[in-house]
Symmetry: C2
Amino acid sequence: MDAQLRIGIVGYGNLGQGVERSLAMNPDMTLVGVFTRRDPGSVSTIDPTVSVRRIEELDTLQDEIDVLILCGGSKSDLPEQTPALAARFSVVDSFDTHTRIPEHFAAVDAAARAAETTAVISTGWDPGLFSLQRLYGEAILPQGETYTFWGRGLSQGHSDAIRRVPGVAAGVQYTIPSDDAMARVRAGDRPALSTRDKHTRECFVVLEDGADQDAVREAIVTMPDYFEPYDTTVHIVSAEELARDHAGVPHGGFVIRSATTSEGVAQTVEFQLALESNPEFTASVLVAYARAAARLSVSGDHGAKTPFDIAPGLLSPKSPERLRAELL
Amino acid sequence: MDAQLRIGIVGYGNLGQGVERSLAMNPDMTLVGVFTRRDPGSVSTIDPTVSVRRIEELDTLQDEIDVLILCGGSKSDLPEQTPALAARFSVVDSFDTHTRIPEHFAAVDAAARAAETTAVISTGWDPGLFSLQRLYGEAILPQGETYTFWGRGLSQGHSDAIRRVPGVAAGVQYTIPSDDAMARVRAGDRPALSTRDKHTRECFVVLEDGADQDAVREAIVTMPDYFEPYDTTVHIVSAEELARDHAGVPHGGFVIRSATTSEGVAQTVEFQLALESNPEFTASVLVAYARAAARLSVSGDHGAKTPFDIAPGLLSPKSPERLRAELL
């Protein structure tokens, strides 16, 4: 890139903080500011010199920002924010409600085309990098099956469910790919597997004083939908242990394409993410796609885009010549 | 795609055969013919109804072929053929001499721009899919190291070296990623590793009558450059065993990005190929990129391209809408 890319962060939870960290590792980008719906005085950025402003102040900053990175949630923030902001800025989001992607794309595309901005939606890792692997696998090896396994990773929804069980003071839940299911897929068996076949669940629980360990365990493993259909393990731990060993937000998973290219000739493509911080990784993906959004916008390629539409080279700060010489 | 893509295969060794097999799995493509420098009567295609013609006959077929898939070797065929044919057709190759990619790109680009064709070079898996993983890993996680391991795979050059050892009747060599090196990389140690640190070598050898097993073993493991620097294992096998268990052309490997996104927070991205047939897999990649070449050519995006320049969605027969709904 010739000039510094000027980036704004919209929303400052775990994801926004991850974007701030990632921008510091990308010398071709400058953070213009964090924009929030909260009282700016209540927001502490990692670098205390970062400007924090009300989101309304974006109204006057169209000429000072190249790309906004949207760090809100997919449930209620992004369906509103992405189209509204794409009407004024090039943007990147990590919208991850798979079933609602077509309508989100349509709303963002209309806004971005009208405003001649570029809006990259559904970056991150699933949707995002996992989607890319599913696409490459299927396009290259049409005779096969694709399997997505999630974990080992902290599941917020299942952790919340544990904490609602009577007698539970605190707890976390990890989703874990089933060793058995992974082995069958890697062996080329191409089994039919549901989400419950592919995963097991592991819980670390702190009991309330006087709670009955067996009753808590039973209440968890028999909970319909959340745990009953799965092979679930419950570990009772101390509050200290929970704080020491389970404070992170790990996640990850696998995408495996198991295919054949002729009778009896198996070809297996496997992609794995092992992430110690899910939000910091997702943030890093957003930042790379912000670079692509800026380049597409400059080249006049407007409208909504997904990772499927972005040539990989656009993510890198290196020139095409350097990429060919160093990485091809 | 609306109309069938009309494909020609240039060169009919293992790779060309793999392309013929792959085309049969892609219903949006039609094989127009195989073009060869040999006597067409001496070439037996898998499907005996395929038209086999002399390469010179391409001169009259510009309006009947959308993309030529070039299946020659990188040493002497492709440096001549790709620019020459890109001057008349959109083409795809798997040029894999890493150090000569910049000059190959320049020659092909000049020819393709002048002729308004689209030429995708260096597809396959390394260069190709492995290159893409190196790029995505580095662009998303700038603070880290990327490791490429090859194998378990048959190495033609090392197999040839074994066969030149006195007393050896036949043999094959597999390059194997070192378990120890892989474990250190996955643990996030970010070790400095040379190619020899990362791989071990395993040989399966058939002795000539009366040959001294120990002398053969010693001659192999002490061979400079080829085996001496590596941890090498030599298995003496019968001719029957070699024919039964070692007739395939397996290959594959790993690309691992080991990185951090903040102090002490490790993020690991790992990509693995386990291929029972190296040429059939490479052929499958060429065919998917032929689809992209045709689309780029129709849209007026001419010149030389590499996998870095190709938006992933262009590889798939599915429409962008379907890809978003099904795979994102």
